[in-house]
């Protein structure tokens, strides 16, 4: 019977994994933000041909399991492009490209929820598409996106654990190592669960705060 005390000295080692997990999540979210926003803008304002091509991108990243994407890009796609990316870099890139496909949907919905009348009004005072996107559409759409974006954070946080497959030193990878080293199972995995819970709770809490701060006065139901 392995002693549970043997687990305690591994706690700092496991906790350090949160830094890796946070890197994966923030990296993925930020890359996904720019990809998702660009995709959404093209889908709302772009030409038909471009939309079709981007739909293929979205369909591919949403339809393929993350584990398959990670392996595909790490072993095949990036090397064949001559890119020598580390497991961490590959994971961030893949999480970002995949999150971009999901975030495009979020931004598309929130861009569409800015009513067309405001776009006509912006045109009527002489705004170009670029200006009305920057000053009228996005300031509203991004506010509306926050709750769904908070959800995307929670999703990508959990997905990041799959990056253990490439040996990224995130929480789960470390816990699996500790479990093997100590012969314990319940305690290390429970501990990992608690860490993920705290990260989810903290992250969505921050987003809630931002959402409340960004609320437009007088509007019911938050921002709509």
């Amino acid at each position: 019977m392995p002693s549970i005390y043997s687990f305690f000295r591994y706690i700092p080692f496991v906790v350090e994994g949160t830094l890796w997990t946070i890197s994966l999540v923030l990296g993925g979210l930020v890359i996904g933000f720019f990809i998702g926003l660009s995709l959404a803008l093209v889908q709302s304002f772009g030409g038909e041909r471009l939309k079709k091509m981007l739909n293929i991108y979205i369909w591919f990243f949403r339809g393929t399991p993350l584990l398959v994407l990670l392996s595909l890009f790490y072993w095949a796609v990036f090397p064949s492009l001559g890119l020598e990316l580390s497991p961490l870099e590959t994971s961030i890139a893949v999480l970002g490209m995949r999150s971009g496909a999901y975030q495009s949907q979020i931004f598309k919905d929130s861009i569409n929820s800015v009513d067309y009348g405001q776009i006509l009004a912006a045109r009527s005072i002489g705004m170009s598409n670029r200006k009305l996107i920057s000053y009228i559409v996005l300031p509203q759409a991004l506010r509306i996106s926050i709750p769904a974006w908070s959800n995307e954070y929670a999703v990508i946080l959990k997905d990041s654990a799959i990056c253990f497959a490439l040996g990224v030193m995130e929480i789960l990878t470390r816990v699996r190592y500790v479990s093997t080293a100590t012969g314990l199972a319940l305690l290390p995995y429970l501990f990992a669960g608690v860490l993920f819970f705290i990260l989810t709770f903290a992250g969505t809490g921050v987003m809630d705060f931002v959402y409340r701060r960004a609320k437009i006065p007088g509007m019911l139901e938050g921002l709509r």
Partner: protein, 251 residues
């Protein structure tokens, strides 16, 4: 008087619906023209064609002598010569009353923040929006206040002409009159105006000319006094129905 808007033979189809069938119109500097006509006559479509919010399929529209329907036209610049007021106000939800006005001044006209703010205050006063409302968001304003801010937003761009598409039909009668009074006041100050409305009293009181629209065309027009002597039966029928609703909002 100089012709500010000249529209000739404008056609517009939506799929199989023909909304405009050769609509023409001329608006002179300082003139206030009211367009009346039944629902579906194409009034909104026509107005939106005038500043190319909708591109007509056919026809020629000139603003201040420049053809906006030309493929080479600088639409962004020409649109600034036309103030547009929508039935549904269409204020920018995320900006205050002042912000709704300064955004166009700073981002389109390139004014400094301070100058834009001064100007915004000036036009808000013109539409009787007091200081207590300057920093309110659209959701915190009444319908009549929203529409007056929308008028101020258009006015602030110093347009040659103001277009109003049923500016009061989304408002309760009490709130309609506060908006109509502002439009009347602007018209009396000499601002060239084109107003689509169902408000009889307003039309007879404020319009220099009343144009009757039906089936995608302007069928006849004349001064309020000439309304009794319309030549076509089509126009007389529309007027009779319309006079039945006479309620004299400004009387």
């Amino acid at each position: 008087m100089k012709v500010v808007i000249k529209a000739e033979n404008v056609w517009k189809k939506y799929g199989s619906t023909i909304a405009l069938r050769g609509a023409s119109l001329e608006l002179r500097e300082g003139e206030t023209k009211v367009i009346i006509g039944p629902s579906g006559a194409g009034k909104s479509t026509f107005l939106k064609c005038l500043n190319l919010l909708i591109r007509p399929d056919e026809g020629r529209i000139c603003i201040d002598g420049e053809e906006i329907t030309s493929l080479k036209a600088d639409i962004i610049r020409l649109r600034q010569k036309i103030g547009f007021v929508f039935q549904e106000f269409n204020l920018f939800h995320h900006l205050t009353a002042v912000g709704n006005i300064t955004i166009g001044l700073t981002k389109v006209k390139g004014m400094s923040k301070e100058d834009a703010l001064e100007k915004a205050k000036r036009v808000l006063k013109m539409v009787h929006i007091g200081e207590d409302l300057w920093n309110k968001y659209p959701a915190q304003l009444s319908g009549g206040q929203k529409q007056r801010v929308a008028i101020a937003r258009a006015l602030a761009m110093d347009p040659l002409v103001m277009l109003y598409d049923e500016p009061t039909s989304a408002l309760d009668p009490g709130l309609s009159s506060e908006v109509l009074l502002v439009i009347k006041d602007l018209s009396e100050r000499g601002i060239t105006s084109l107003v689509v409305t169902h408000e009889m009293g307003f039309a007879y009181e404020v319009a220099d000319t009343i144009a009757i629209m039906n089936n995608g065309r302007i069928i006849e027009e004349g001064s309020p006094e000439e309304m009794e002597y319309m030549k076509t039966k089509e126009a007389r029928n529309i007027l009779n129905r319309w006079n039945g609703m006479k309620n004299g909002v400004l009387a």
